[in-house]
Symmetry: D2
Subunit: 296 residues, 4 copies
């Protein structure tokens, strides 16, 4: 589906909404849009019979909206109220560049890939800063014109509180729309998971729920699986158990050592993270409980 628009003619206002399902919601929303002559350029709808929830994402050509985004927000709020107090929605403006902050450790392949996508305009966000618990990736980051912060982490997990506090402060200073754990290798404390809920995105190098935690390629080798995978998910307090945004796999065989898996796995990690992050930034991902609806 469409990436971020290249020019102002392509400017879009994008509505994403989830609420308890009942007949007439689509008619109500689309009639609201039709009343002011709005043109819907992309529309996704989903009713989940299991949870009884309704989800929609609609992209409007901004040029067909005869008033500003603030006014659109005010007007739509009245419509959304009709759908009940559990309704959640947001309206994004493609002309407002979104912001991402990246957390990294020593492995640079996901970082390098995202920096390249940002340069080429493929990532619908600016990378505001990169924070590493090791200094190794400073040069790569700065060569792409992005600020790098080194926050050393003590060996003893019990003493990492101040380091996490510093990371939190550095991240929050940018008011990011996405906090990306690009192979960060540190488990976020529960209070940070809560603080960045719905914005912290992790790439795990296995096909979850297989091989949770450390060294998933070693686990995969020991189990003798024939495919290895990567999972992009929202971070929650339970390790590697947050709502899944995207997954993919690659075929391996008996000739592949753990080192081979690590190398080949990088190619899926990169792509799965980039895809999941883009969907998040474009308002394509709606979370309900432990599941996601992705209007890709």
């Amino acid at each position: 589906m469409s990436a971020v628009p290249a020019d102002s003619d392509d400017r879009r206002y994008t509505l994403a909404l989830g609420c308890p399902d009942r007949p007439g919601i689509i008619a109500r929303i689309t009639s609201f849009i039709a009343e002011f002559g709005g043109s819907i350029v992309e529309a996704g709808y989903h009713s989940d019979p299991e949870s009884g929830w309704f989800f929609t994402r609609q992209a409007l050509a901004a040029a067909t909206v005869p008033f500003g985004l603030d006014e659109l927000r005010v007007r739509f709020a009245a419509v959304a109220r009709e759908f009940g107090p559990q309704t959640e929605w947001q309206l994004l403006d493609s002309a407002v560049r979104r912001r991402a902050v990246l957390l990294v450790s020593r492995d640079g392949h996901c970082l390098h890939d995202l920096l390249g996508r940002a340069v080429s305009g493929e990532l619908p966000a600016t990378i505001e800063a990169v924070i590493g618990n090791h200094p190794d990736l400073a040069a790569m980051t700065e060569a792409h014109g992005v600020k790098f912060h080194h926050v050393p982490f003590p060996k003893d997990p019990a003493e990492r509180g101040p380091a996490f506090a510093q990371v939190r402060e550095l991240v929050d200073a940018h008011e990011p729309d996405a906090v990306v754990l690009a192979r960060f290798m540190q488990v976020l404390p529960a209070e940070l998971c809560a603080h960045w809920a719905g914005r912290a995105i992790n790439i795990h190098h296995s096909f979850l729920p297989s091989f949770v935690g450390a060294r998933p390629y070693h686990q995969a080798f020991a189990r003798g699986v024939k495919l290895i995978g990567a999972t992009c998910h929202y971070v929650t307090a339970e390790l590697d158990a947050g709502p899944i945004i995207e997954q993919d796999v690659i075929r391996i065989d008996h000739g592949d050592t753990v080192r081979d898996m690590v190398r080949q796995g990088r190619d899926i990690e990169r792509v799965v993270l980039a895809r999941g992050l883009r969907w998040h930034l474009e308002g394509r991902v709606l979370v309900h409980g432990r599941r996601t609806v992705v209007f890709s």
Copy 2:
């Protein structure tokens, strides 16, 4: 997405529509449905900026429609007229079993697969008859309780007119919703393509547009490709050039002979045909020019 309903509570009326795009169509259709309290259980929308065409498919819970299908058709016809004379639409009732006729030759893997899916209720249609230009697959067909007709084809293509006429008559007697060329290996004459337009579905054993025509696996071997594929498409007068419904591929390597490709290719042929045929039968495929919109 959802297969054919298992019981009457799941009965659905499914609308599929294509028309010139303009603002307000979704609102008009969904308001029409909301007015009588209809519940939309599945909805797909697509605006094609290239062709300026709009496509939608909507499945209604039949139990929420307070009148019969005929009345629904009459009422919706008035709505559709507002969208202009080029508008095309159909309304399907999941309680009316759809009908398929299969044309085969000697290779039985696609036939056997479809017969099995029909038995298990996985195919949303009954297989009314199987017609073969060779008698080889009669026993397999009849073991599944389906009538087999053998129509011999003369060697000389110029003399095949009467055979095709007989096939046409046998097929048309069943008024089928799908005429499936399940590895039929005979090129349909243009007039039959026209007669069954939008209903004749072929499985070609290559990833089209590569390797049109005869012996695609031999062509693939000679070219040294690293993936082989299968394509399910509507039949048109131009050979293997009709609108594509579904495609898939499988990885091969230098160790695979043509015979190996034939064997492995069967697995994708079966699945690609079954998938494309199901989508066609469920009204998920809308054709515009040489392209399809598939609300899968």
Copy 3:
């Protein structure tokens, strides 16, 4: 890679061997073959640095072996002895049709698929018998000319001993090379796992090690994964934990219900089981500990 030969010119003797690794094994084996002028038509070698084990599979054109298979076995045994007492090997003759027995329950898609492959000559084995703990699949089996045995299983797992004893007797009467649990849905007792070790093959409808045990599609739905899979593995006493022969996955999305997953999952279950079973029957699978080497 090559399926079972179609005619006697294609007759092959296939050697599969595993032993502790050390330099010179390939030279020893291939020199042994070269001495009598044997022609190797397919060769696979693998050294596993982790386990220090060596694996090979070699297919000889039978016509180039100037003596019988028994003589070849006697001669090769002397070579194998040089590689130490842990060496395991077998020699298969493609002219000796291999035998499979299938265990089923109510779901017929894997059974129907294997019956079809047997008919078309795609499966390098005869299906000697099908045994079901329900009678549902008797007609389908017999329509393909295969004997069906119904062995009812009591509800109480504690009382299933006699039923398993009867299954064992029925199976063993055919001295099968493969005992295929084609969606059998019953957990084999440990002593049967041991008795059929290396011959009992299961298809599990998830991408193991995710979703072990019952109702894996329900588990997958609840977890919100974006791909579902199937795994073909040898049966061992630990549930769904035996050496994996083959796996594959298919993409799903938020619109897919559990019922949709069940339907789509069938397509991978069929293919993964058929592929894994063929490899087993052709002597392409060598097991070492919990891992397999597959010379596909």
Copy 4:
């Protein structure tokens, strides 16, 4: 399979050989290796019944070879002569870093990806230089510490001779093992194809042989295919028709515009080029006629 070794213990001598097939070749080569106690850490063999050709690739642990590489070459040359005058072979030393030169235009995604892989040690070669017919990618290249040359190309194809001559000179100065057309967008003259035969590698943004030439994503959109692909192949005088090293595809749907295809296609282009290039550099690709044998 294994990437380039990380340390000297992993040093390997890799033999790649193609010759007319006949019994005893494997025995001859492996006996030659066994005689001096060489340890084979990776072995691939292939007999092609179609062409009657034999191919092998064998990686020796250098530490187990009791003499130098030059001596090994001399000794093996005598063995290779026994296989006839058409025999082609090479012996690579993993301790000798291989060299690549990249030709680019304006699209930087493949370049950025390869530069990142070179930095992380994932590419078994140094990127010696990058040559662009536009200056756009100079900054990206130099930020990775690699020299960039801008060689402007005149609009008129008939006048490009001097530009190609300059490119040739710049490339040849580095005696590269690979000349990579990383979305170069210029058709090499036949004499350059001949000059760099077996070393010039192109990434084409379609699943060849579909959509040869310019604007393949536009062609794919017009044809309505359901998968788009990328092909890594050796460059020959016939456009996009050289021996294929690697291919892959990605699923698209009716909602994807040409711009969406361009964006998604980049992810396969990157991976397919990186994979094919690595296999080439590690001596895993043997060409025979229009087909390749890839011991991946």
